[in-house]
């Protein structure tokens, strides 16, 4: 097993104290950083003044086939001896509060429809509906020609999923490039990387909730991610390397850190799913591909950032130094490279990239939750392992493959709730035949 770069096991009590102090300060810093988010998490959307007396509701939007809202349409809901009534508002929305869940009969009063608008063919009116697991039931009435269920052809679907998968893969790559750099330079398999992903999205949500402008919130979140990377390295990992702690104990420490940070985030953020600003957007059509603008932006941003990382790694002195440290820390140190500062920069970069990936992931899902990072942690690992542990460009290729694979499995008939299984499965299969990954070297494996 490979030892850490500073492999000399010098036991220093001062170092121990530092570790403990650093953990405490990291926890405090996180508590402070996450505090605004908690204040933002509380206000729930207030329901309209009427219908407030019931917890359950039936609601919907009335729009004609040109998506214009229909105002003043009367809708009644009947069940047993209770009858609720609502009239659609200026934005076409209607909502009927009902005392109980169960089966309801919904009727739209066709005489109140604007002139020239009528229900689409095959739209049952009145119709019977039943509540599912939730307290709100939405009922959709289609008008005019109605929404023609598009028989999406296979090629079209494939192309759309391919682009979405590329977008997903590139955002995974942002996180995995950081993970891979950290692994390459320090040998640490960092299970807390998912929490760095979460932090980016949670910080953007927190800062936006403090009414900061969106761009500032994003920048602050990226800075926060970089800061977490720096604090982690300076306060925890560097002292551990100094002590000569083995790689396996460090891996277990990172698991403890992941648990602690995940629940600290939940402590302040709560268990609910929140949305970032501009999270909802209609799909747009670019050539043959339909994609949501958020996904398109995500694709462009991550592609540009990754290209930048590639240029830095290949062309600059810092990049060369990083690759040298990843290749052989002892030799790099001997040739005058400041290994510790390279590792520090790698941690900061890894933190920034992970939080950027987290922000994009929050738009891709969409939604921010306290465990969003740990949900994709294994996909990040899959990408890194697929590409070859410790190789940056391998991580990039591996992640893109994982992203595309995850999206494409749904095209080929795998259920949507199993789509991550395919990616994890393919990782295990690749390990069977090419354990060093796509770009990895044989020597790293054994």
């Amino acid at each position: 097993m490979r030892r850490t770069p500073r492999g000399l096991p010098i036991r220093r009590p001062a170092g121990l104290l530092k570790v403990w102090g650093a953990i405490a300060s990291a926890v405090v810093a996180l508590l402070l950083a996450a505090a605004p988010a908690s204040q933002a998490g509380t206000p729930a959307p207030t329901p309209p003044p009427s219908n407030q007396q019931f917890q359950n509701s039936i609601s919907g939007f009335l729009r004609d086939d040109a998506r214009r809202p229909l105002e003043g349409v009367k809708i009644t809901a009947k069940s047993g001896d209770f009858t609720g009534e609502a009239t659609s508002g200026a934005n076409g929305s209607w909502r009927i509060g009902v005392p109980n869940q169960g089966a309801w009969e919904i009727e739209l009063d066709e005489s109140t429809l604007p002139e020239g608008i009528k229900l689409a063919e095959g739209q049952a009116n009145p119709r019977n509906v039943t509540f599912g697991q939730t307290s709100n039931l939405s009922v959709i009435f289609a008008f005019g020609k109605g929404i023609v269920v598009q028989q999406q052809d296979f090629g079209q679907n494939l192309l759309n999923r391919l682009v979405a998968g590329l977008s997903f893969g590139l955002l995974l790559a942002l996180a995995s490039v950081g993970l891979s750099l950290i692994f390459g330079t320090t040998g640490l398999t960092n299970f807390a990387h998912g929490e760095m992903v979460t932090l980016g999205a949670v910080l953007v949500f927190g800062f936006s909730a403090m009414n900061l402008p969106f761009w500032l919130a994003v920048i602050l979140a990226l800075v926060g991610g970089g800061l977490l990377g720096y604090v982690q390295d300076a306060g925890l990992w560097r002292p551990l390397r100094r002590r000569g702690t083995g790689l396996v104990p460090m891996m277990i420490v990172s698991i403890g850190l992941a648990l602690a940070v995940r629940y600290i985030i939940q402590f302040f953020f709560g268990g609910a799913t929140q949305q970032l600003p501009f999270a909802q957007s209609a799909e747009i059509q670019i050539g043959p591909v339909s994609i949501s603008p958020n996904n398109l932006w995500s694709l462009i941003i991550s592609a540009v950032v990754i290209a930048l990382i590639g240029v830095v790694l290949l062309k600059t002195r810092l990049g060369k130094a990083t690759r040298a440290v990843a290749d052989n820390p002892a030799l790099a140190a001997a040739s005058g490279i400041d290994v510790d500062s390279v590792i520090r920069i790698v941690w900061i970069t890894g933190g920034v990239l992970a939080s950027l990936g987290g922000i994009l992931w929050a738009y891709y899902r969409p939604g921010v939750t306290f465990d969003m990072g740990s949900q994709i942690l294994l996909l990040i690992f899959a990408g890194v392992t697929l590409g070859g542990l410790g190789t940056v460009f391998g991580a990039l290729i591996g992640s893109v493959i994982v992203g595309i694979f995850v999206e494409l499995t749904t095209v080929f008939g795998l259920a949507a709730d199993l789509k991550y299984v395919g990616a994890l499965f393919i990782m295990i299969v690749v390990l069977l035949f090419r354990p060093q990954g796509i770009l990895g070297r044989r020597e790293r494996v054994g």
């Binding site: 121990l16 698991i255 402590f267 690992f381």
Partner: protein, 322 residues
């Protein structure tokens, strides 16, 4: 705040079936990691395989209890083989990633809506424990403040833990166990002595996995239900905390570790809830108090690993890593 009640419920955790399940699963991890140096981060997967293997064979195929038990064990052996074949020749952290991924695959597969008729998807399965409780030799009544069902499951659970401990103790002082410890210390040295390292690792993975599967059954039987949400990666990490608390290369360490884990969790919950209810702590909700406990688990895991990696009982010389 009722300290008597808090202490009583903490003491009740000492012998609860959940603690027994954790102890047994952690004992399996001790075989994997403490004695053989295998990084199994998928023990939750083994537990899920055991629990679902038993529940599905009981509910879908109406097999008797012991056949269900056998099926669960066979499933966990197969699971261990599937995990071991690609990874046991590779470096330790590959096994870590593959086991954690495989455990998640199991969880996704039992959660999917496609298989609802078999696995019950997110709601899980229930009412499969009848066969177990019909074997209850204790007539109805009160045993140490428990009804006969609770008493029976505790006897069986802790009986299994005791048998497991004796088994591990015997195995590890046998020549076979010495080879395992040798593999942990230096794989190449053992290989040069002509031992089949791969086969030994695989046997260790299978044995620890069977412990995990049995633990999964002990975990579900008193609940009378098995739900996929219980078998996430957190469960594995809690088991690791138990293992490291007690001492990884010891027989009794994982058991004591599981007891400490649950007693401390119960104590902190009781004290925190008591403080909140009495109004002494206002900056915390009861939900947050629950999360605070898991923050403590995470920090405890880090500190243990950094300052006392051998755990409470462990011997520093017997660490799976230097």
């Amino acid at each position: 705040m009722d300290f008597g009640f808090i202490l009583f419920s903490a003491a009740a955790e000492l012998f609860s079936p959940t603690t027994a399940a954790y102890a047994l699963a952690a004992l399996g991890l001790a075989v994997h990691f403490g004695y053989s140096g295998l990084l199994n981060f998928g023990q939750a997967g083994f537990m899920a395989v055991g629990a679902y293997g038993f529940a599905i064979s009981t509910l879908s195929f109406r097999v008797p209890f012991f056949v269900g038990l056998l099926i669960a064990v066979v499933c966990s052996v197969l699971f261990a083989l599937v995990l071991g074949i690609p990874t046991l020749r590779l470096r330790a952290d590959y096994l870590a990633i593959v086991t954690i991924a495989a455990a998640e695959i199991v969880r996704y597969v039992v959660t999917t809506n496609q298989l609802t008729s078999v696995t019950g998807s997110a709601n899980g399965l229930a009412a499969f424990e009848g066969g177990f409780y019909t074997m209850n030799p204790f007539p109805e009544g009160t045993y140490f403040g428990m009804n006969n069902r609770d008493f029976f499951i505790r006897i069986v659970g802790w009986g299994l833990v005791a048998v497991g401990c004796v088994l591990v103790w015997l195995l590890m002082r046998s020549p076979w166990g010495r080879v395992l410890k040798g593999i942990r210390e230096d794989e190449n040295a053992v290989r040069s002595l002509g031992k089949n390292v791969y086969a030994h690792k695989m046997q260790s993975l299978v044995i620890g996995g069977i412990f995990g599967a049995l633990a999964g059954m002990i975990f579900t039987l008193p609940r009378g239900a098995v739900q996929p949400a219980n078998y996430g990666t957190e469960l594995t990490f809690f088991l690791w905390t138990c293992l490291l608390l007690g001492g990884m290369a010891t027989v009794l360490g994982p058991v004591i570790g599981a007891m400490i884990f649950w007693v401390v969790l119960s104590l902190t919950q009781g004290v925190l809830y008591g403080l909140i209810e009495s109004g002494a702590v206002t900056w915390l909700t009861t939900v947050q108090a629950g999360q605070l406990r898991y923050i403590l688990v995470g920090v405890a895991l880090m500190l243990l690993m950094i300052f006392r990696p051998q755990g409470v009982f462990g011997n520093k010389k017997e660490l799976a890593f230097a």
